[in-house]
Amino acid sequence: MSIKFSNVFYTYSPKTPFAFEALNDVSLKIEKGSFTALIGKTGSGKSTLIQHLNGLLYPSSGEVEVEDFIISKNKKRRTKKIKALRQLVGIVFQFPEYQLFEESVEKDVAFGPRNFGVKKEEALKIAHEALSYVGLDESFYTRSPFELSGGERRRVAIAGILALSPDILVLDEPTVGLDPRGAKEMMTLFKKLHQEGKTIILVTHDMNLVFNYATNVILLDEGRLILQSTPLELFQDEEKLASLEVPLIYEFMHLLKLEGLELDYSKVNTLETLINELIRAKGLKT
């Protein structure tokens, strides 16, 4: 097991009139190598939760364990090697394109590794690899990040995190504001990283992404853990779904079912599997 939250509470500005409880008794486990989608309404505590993963926030009470690291309020118990933790857990924040600052793309991507003590030439090499990963070729290396388009800037920023080669990659709405094709390419990249063995945690509002890519789902509401399951279980739970948008495929299947077609939901998670299932249900041969 890779990540474990035990009874985590988090309160913003405690003991003031603005005190706000963002996490309320959250206990959960995220397995190593899983692709977990973190969903919930705006203000449900998703962003607060992910900031615990690399020690940007410490719980007000309770504990978070990430591999051997302990993130706790207790100064004696919590890990001293915060830098090592930050290398293990890479967080791509919302709109990461606004964190670029260097004069060239390659320098910006190499900035992360440089902070972790990697030599300059080595860091540049890592940067080039990370850039090719996100689909930016050599022509981008020496350009200024500020002259790129929004989508390209986001790729650079994501490369900046990939360059740290984290085992756990946390993504806060990485596809928001991208054109559909760019978003698809992004998701394909994350899927590839997942297949290479990285643990992926994806914060999203897009249920289609959850349905297509995630192996696990965590649903939060007002700082409380509502449900932790597979996407399939979630989308069959009518009650929990009430507050969520339903993926397009699921809606389609639901309508087909109302028309009297017997479909096995558990076999469907992409367009291809839906076609297979339709063919099976109609008794057609392939």
Binding site: Q51, L56, R86, G90, I91, L100, F101, N115, L164
Partner: protein
């Protein structure tokens, strides 16, 4: 609607003119105002917390540097003399600081930023005769005030993002620190510029024209309470100025009255 704004303007003025003896009386007065404004004293202390370091440094420097006309030695450390005057001087500075912060706290806790802008424009309105851009300046100030929390949020956000990339904002050598700061400031400026451009476009899209004749959604009216507070503040300020310029010694006066 209260036009408390003017009160506030007088405040910062009087704190500068007060004398050491008057400090106590003013402190009492301001604490009363704090209570009227329903501000908890704890809130004042928490805003003072940030100043602790400054206070200590000020104390240190002031106590060590002997004033020009110092004569009364309080005690000696080695052959370094500490004078009563310098101790008093530093106490005075601290008292002033506390009072100033208390006053700004009252101002910000009781007055909406929009009201502040109105007040600013109102104060500068006589200058309009000499083509002084009163409205523009008031608008600029109110926009600046409005964006302080936004920029703070932005700073926190970028700091977190860079910390995730291994930046250590607290420790490190000077060169590393400069780099860390740069990684914060450059994106901050970028987003601030972007934001200002967006704001300007949004304002223009809604037909904003600084030269145009404007009406106000909320009309400010002069009320009895405003007259009262204005008179009270004027009296207190006048009292402070008169007593300090005439060099009255209260303790002596009271002593002579008692005996």
């Amino acid at each position: 609607m209260l036009v408390l704004l003017m009160v506030a303007v007088f405040y910062s003025y009087q704190t500068y003119t007060m004398t050491f003896l008057m400090g106590g009386i003013l402190l009492l007065f301001i604490v009363t105002l704090l209570l009227i404004a329903k501000i908890r004293l704890r809130q004042l202390f928490s805003s003072l917390k940030a100043l602790w370091m400054m206070v200590i440094i000020l104390l240190f420097i002031n106590v060590l540097i002997p004033p020009l006309n110092a004569s009364n030695i309080a005690f000696k450390i080695g052959n370094f003399a500490i004078y009563y005057e310098s101790i008093f001087q530093s106490l005075k500075i601290i008292l002033r600081l506390v009072l100033m912060i208390a006053l700004t706290l009252i101002l910000t806790a009781t007055t909406k930023p929009l009201d502040l802008t109105y007040a600013l424009e109102w104060y500068m309105s006589p200058l309009k005769i000499i083509q002084f851009p009163a409205h523009e300046i008031a608008m600029t100030v109110s926009i600046a005030l409005r964006f302080i929390p936004t920029l703070l949020d932005e700073t926190m956000r970028i700091m977190k993002a860079q910390a995730s990339r291994g930046v250590d904002f607290e420790r490190g050598k000077l060169k590393e620190k400069i780099k860390a700061l740069l990684s914060l400031i450059v994106p901050l400026f970028m987003s601030a510029f972007l934001r200002s451009e967006e704001l300007a476009n949004a304002m223009e899209a809604r037909g904003y024209n600084p030269r145009g004749k404007r009406t106000k959604y909320r009309q400010l009216k002069w009320q009895m309470s405003d007259t009262f507070s204005l008179v009270l503040i004027t009296l207190v300020t006048a009292f402070v100025i008169v007593t300090s310029s005439l060099n009255w010694n209260f303790i002596e006066m009271i002593m002579s009255l008692v005996s």
